[in-house]
Subunit: 391 residues, 2 copies
Amino acid sequence: MNIIPLSMEQEIAGRVSRIAGELSARGMDAILLSDFANLYYTSGRVFCGYAYITATGEVTYFVKRPIGLEGDNVAYIRKPEQIAEMLGAGKMPGCIALEMGRSSFNEIERLKKVFPCAQVVDGTPVMNSVRAVKSEFEISKLKTCGIHHETAYGNIKKVYREGMTDIELQIEIERILRSEGCLGQFRIAGDTMELFMGNLLCGYNAETPSPYDFAMGGGGLDESLPVGCNGSLIRPGNTVMVDMCGNFNGYMTDMTRVFRIGEIGELARKAHSLSITIHHRLATMAKPGVEAKALYEEAMKIVKDAGLEEYFMGLKQKAGFIGHGVGIEVNELPVIAPRSRDVLQAGNVIALEPKFVIPQVGAVGIENTYVVRDSGLECLTNFPEEIQELY
Amino acid sequence: MNIIPLSMEQEIAGRVSRIAGELSARGMDAILLSDFANLYYTSGRVFCGYAYITATGEVTYFVKRPIGLEGDNVAYIRKPEQIAEMLGAGKMPGCIALEMGRSSFNEIERLKKVFPCAQVVDGTPVMNSVRAVKSEFEISKLKTCGIHHETAYGNIKKVYREGMTDIELQIEIERILRSEGCLGQFRIAGDTMELFMGNLLCGYNAETPSPYDFAMGGGGLDESLPVGCNGSLIRPGNTVMVDMCGNFNGYMTDMTRVFRIGEIGELARKAHSLSITIHHRLATMAKPGVEAKALYEEAMKIVKDAGLEEYFMGLKQKAGFIGHGVGIEVNELPVIAPRSRDVLQAGNVIALEPKFVIPQVGAVGIENTYVVRDSGLECLTNFPEEIQELY
């Protein structure tokens, strides 16, 4: 099969061109990629090997596996050392960018030797910044995710049965998502995050801090994966926050909604409403040129004015952000955090998740995925935002 | 909560002592770990931070998240640079081992600066070799996994319905596994492997090569995760190979079984029987002191003698191994491959998976997880090995 289907060719050409422009602007001659998310971005499929992209806009795919990929720019290799001979002495870069923020130290040291005369620099920021601005093709993939995500969430109430534990409900939601076409895979950049198909938090468990840098925590079922469901019964007076995987096609939307059993009290209702208020406020404020940290500051101002700061983004341990870029991975740029240096650009896709943890009740607040447009945010996850009763 | 529950203290002390011994033997003064699998191994839980272990057997846990962990050897930090000041000038190592095969280049460069006067060496092999020999405590966790894994596989026939696609069956098996307590998380070392909760291969799809270094492939449902189910109907004459996640407690067993619809023909039956024959032969041959590559060679000899080489370990693209260590991660040492330098040790836990792909029929062969004992292999995955009919 051809490594890039004809329908994808123009899209990939656009991405490669943007990477080439970024390389040029930074004085880099070429970038060598091996991370799956970056290979998928630059070829439209995951393979084992390397994508080599020059500042002049040429791309070569050095493939180890699978066999059978075809294309003018496909070259099969067994090991990266062959890349140098295949490029030829006349085409070796003077300055090569490598994925120093993603590949292991040993892998980078090995790749450095492939380019013995080159200056070696970190290409991670190049890819992160290019990928942060989505094309309309990518946005259409994300829209598709949003539609499936909404359909799946619409079935959550149907699978709830009285007396369920949190994990029992999560397993049924996993099945709903998978049956709707969710690939399950939850791609996260970096080594300090892991999660199985999303997080469902019920009642008191929402107060338990986790090792991970997610917005919310939970104790988990096992010390080997201490996040999310802890096996507790869903009781009257509890909220159930559902924040589960929206990866339906290699891209993913991020959406959180809250359900309840019985009455959850005024504080929880007020905090949930405030989350929706924050979304509405940020949706008009977030435009190209606005600093990401300004969104965080605005959200914090609304929270403080309402006197709900102590519950915001966790109780004992607080998350340090209220939103993040999302696309192929769940933690892309821009980061909506107080010390973020990111500035919003048209085509950024961001998940906003101003959330609260209410003692004894559970987590409240919503998360939506938005595209940054010239006029503000366009929502990709259109599902009722109010707390719904499970019965 | 205490970072190490009392019941785990002795077990962790044993692991730390073995790491210390290995550091001593290699002339290293200390090792600094941050990979989740290694943190889990050395503390009994996943946290965000570092475990610092000296050749004299002292361990300190430098914790970033979650808040609330307690213990004499727990120190909270915000960033790794604080480790140096907390150790104190008199206790800085002369030679420090870092996880150069796991952590990113940028992370290692940052950690190097924490120990500016130290010789920095790769500690990845230290941890890989220590973790390859399981304690009886670890083996008991793996036995528990095996029992749950068997129970779950025993329910597969109950969820099959005529006219199902491969992914529809996989989703039902995922639910069975999760309901049996499977954590879902499929831990794999390295950046070149990914899989969602295991692989189910039906019929012709088993012939499609994947980018990943698994024993079997499959086309997958999407170019972003090209492995496993491709959505095809399960038809009479097909085999269905089920190789799904056995992680029930942070450790995981690896088990493959084959089901069929209708008649699959003599060749497929013969190849499946040969896989069982190979298991029985290797189960008596695999003892401490035996070279891992000798197991591979013996398996290849049996396959060649039977004239089934062309179908062995894939058709178009062949896997280069027939087994691998398994424990916290699915690709631990020893590797059962032709150029493996590993020698079996008592307490190794290995998954053997001599498998065949039969054209038009599908994949056959079994996989079991075994402990290497002085007398040979002890099986942890005791489920009927013959091909079972789905009806």
